[in-house]
């Protein structure tokens, strides 16, 4: 009961945030909250693979960047008025570009997952990293789309009734998609599919002995995970109106992993907390000193050591105490 009240209060606060920010005279914080929502979406997606499925992917920047570049490339072809590969017309339609980003992320995850999931443990970590690096260098070498310099998007996605030039509307869009994705994840992890996924993480031999081959379940979870992460990348492209190979850099994969582990892997809301905490800390500390990473690093170490199970576990302990 109390848990529900807390969740409801948090939801209302999140919804009312743009008005609160205006009233408090800091409209810039809407942009900060937008970034939090987008990273929360990416981290929640990674968590499906990492936390629920036990697939420690160190290559999710690939899906994040592919989602961003899907928006950027479709915009570029729209502005050049020249179809992509002579076939696919460019677009600035929000619905079309977000769906295209998810599709591209899903296809990439299917290809990378199908090969990587034949390994396990440390090999899986390294092979996902290797694939992500391949995608990174591919986009560095694509001079048509800016290479190292990235690609500016001069027009945000268009959807009748929505004006994404308004920061509040962009924020609500990101928040809405985050909530929808969380509801989907909640369903999926509690359904029969999720039971098998979680069982395979806990003990693969046991699952095989029950006559279940974990591979197809893991692959589907990995694809869903890639699609959600690509959606987050596409939203970020809309928020910053710019995509670059920074989105594909391996440190981005690491950042997403930190969010999941900081918040609590294998819980629904953990990655959301982790994303909010990490983005908030980066912002707050960067305002204090330019050597903010010097403070952030030890802080993360302390959380991992003293709050096993992340912020979610710490919150639960507080509630029990």
């Amino acid at each position: 009961m109390r848990e529900r009240l807390v969740a409801l209060a948090a939801l209302l606060a999140a919804l009312a945030l743009p008005w609160i920010a205006e009233a408090a005279g800091s409209p810039a914080s809407i942009g900060l909250a937008t970034r939090m929502a987008i990273y929360a979406l990416a981290a929640a997606s990674l968590n499906l693979a990492l936390g629920f499925g036990g697939m420690v992917s160190f290559g999710h920047a690939a899906f994040y960047g592919i989602g961003g570049y899907a928006v950027g490339i479709l915009y570029a072809h729209w502005s050049w008025q020249e179809p992509l590969l002579g076939l696919i017309p460019g677009s600035v339609s929000l619905a079309a570009t977000l769906l295209a980003a998810m599709a591209a992320g899903g296809v990439a995850a299917a290809a990378i997952g199908a090969l990587s999931l034949r390994t396990g443990g440390v090999s899986f970590i390294m092979i996902t990293l290797a694939f992500a690096q391949m995608v990174f260098f591919l986009f560095v070498s694509l001079k048509a789309y800016g290479g190292d310099d990235g690609l500016s998007i001069r027009r945000r996605g268009e959807l009748p009734g929505l004006d994404l030039r308004d920061p509040a509307q962009l924020y609500w869009l990101c928040l809405g998609l985050l909530l929808a994705w969380l509801l989907l994840l909640r369903r999926v992890t509690r359904a029969r599919f999720g039971q098998v996924l979680s069982a395979a993480r806990q003990n693969e031999r046991r699952v095989v002995a029950l006559g279940i081959s974990p591979y197809p379940y893991r692959l589907v979870a990995f694809i869903l995970s890639g699609m959600g992460t690509a959606l987050a990348g596409a939203l970020m492209a809309n928020a910053t109106r710019f995509v670059s190979t920074d989105m594909l850099h391996w440190t981005k994969s690491g950042e997403l992993m930190v969010m999941v582990i900081l918040g609590g892997a294998g819980t629904l809301m953990g990655p959301v907390l982790g994303a909010v905490a990490l983005v908030g800390l980066e912002y707050g500390l960067a305002g204090l000193t330019e050597h903010w990473q010097f403070i952030l690093g030890p802080l993360l170490v302390l959380v991992v050591i003293f709050a096993r199970g992340g912020l979610m576990a710490a919150l639960r302990r507080l509630r029990l105490a």
Binding site: R192, Q195, Q202, N203, R206, V208, A209, L210, G211, I212
Partner: protein, 252 residues
């Protein structure tokens, strides 16, 4: 005599220079309890691994229910009705006994690519799971605990219940008495006696008392091959077996 359910035909498996399985042939008939015994290092684990599909044999063939399964994956073998238990119990440490049984029922019902309905509220899973636990007499107060909180005996009980939930045609029991106290061991022997005849069992076991009390046939594995196979009394009297295996153990 009915056709055998499981046939091992000249299985061979080497690890480097060590011939762990060296021309092993064996069969299990429908409904019989066939015990596989052998001294330490005789290759019992390697044999079990090849039967269940965790280890690929170098040569030889395995047939189950009239079909060749030598190259079938372990999961597929389980789906065909060849179900195993483990020497060291393999459970999902975070899941309760009831969750385990529900997962087994789910596995039996076909694929699990179902993404929407909550599995924990699915009566088609939870009710059969509870019925199975009733049948195995696991203390109702302990059914909700995570597997990591159960005793060794209870964990064996859950694993056996899992195996039977799949409605196997052949049960492969890998040292079911290992790690049990005297009382629990007795209870397990009783459970196996009740199962006898209902389902064919291949029992790999160290506990000689249990083997000779339960088995219809006994096969003796020494250095990767079967040196004798027959009724328990015949095996006990076999001089080659006595020399290789029972020699020092006068208790048999």
């Amino acid at each position: 005599m009915s056709a055998p359910l499981l046939v091992l035909d000249d299985l061979r498996k080497s690890f480097g220079g060590l011939r762990a399985t060296d021309g092993l042939s064996l069969d299990v008939r429908p409904g019989e309890l066939h015990a596989l015994i052998g001294p330490n290092g005789a290759g019992k684990s390697t044999a079990i691994g090849q039967i269940t599909g965790e280890i690929r044999p170098d040569s030889g063939r395995i047939r189950f229910d009239g079909a060749e399964i030598t190259h079938l994956s372990a999961a597929r073998r389980a789906r065909r009705g060849m179900v195993r238990s483990f020497q060291v119990v393999q459970l999902l440490e975070e899941a309760s006994a009831e969750d385990h049984l529900a997962l087994a029922v789910q596995a039996r019902q076909g694929h699990s690519f179902r993404f929407w309905r909550a599995a924990r509220r699915d009566r088609g899973l939870r009710e059969p799971a509870r019925a199975l636990l009733d049948r195995f007499g696991l203390d109702p107060a302990r059914r909700g605990l995570p597997a990591s909180a159960l005793s060794a005996g209870e964990r064996k009980q859950v694993e056996l219940a899992l195996a039977l939930a799949l409605r196997p045609r052949l049960l492969l029991l890998d040292e079911p008495m290992a790690g049990l106290g005297a009382g629990e061991s007795q209870a397990m022997t009783e459970t196996l006696r009740r199962l006898k005849g209902e389902v064919a069992i291949l029992l790999v076991e160290h506990d000689m008392e249990a083997v000779f009390a339960l088995a219809d046939r006994v096969s003796v594995l020494v250095r990767g091959r079967c040196i004798a196979s027959g009724a328990p009394e015949a095996i006990r009297a076999d001089p080659a077996v006595r020399a290789a295996y029972l020699g020092e153990g006068e208790e048999a």
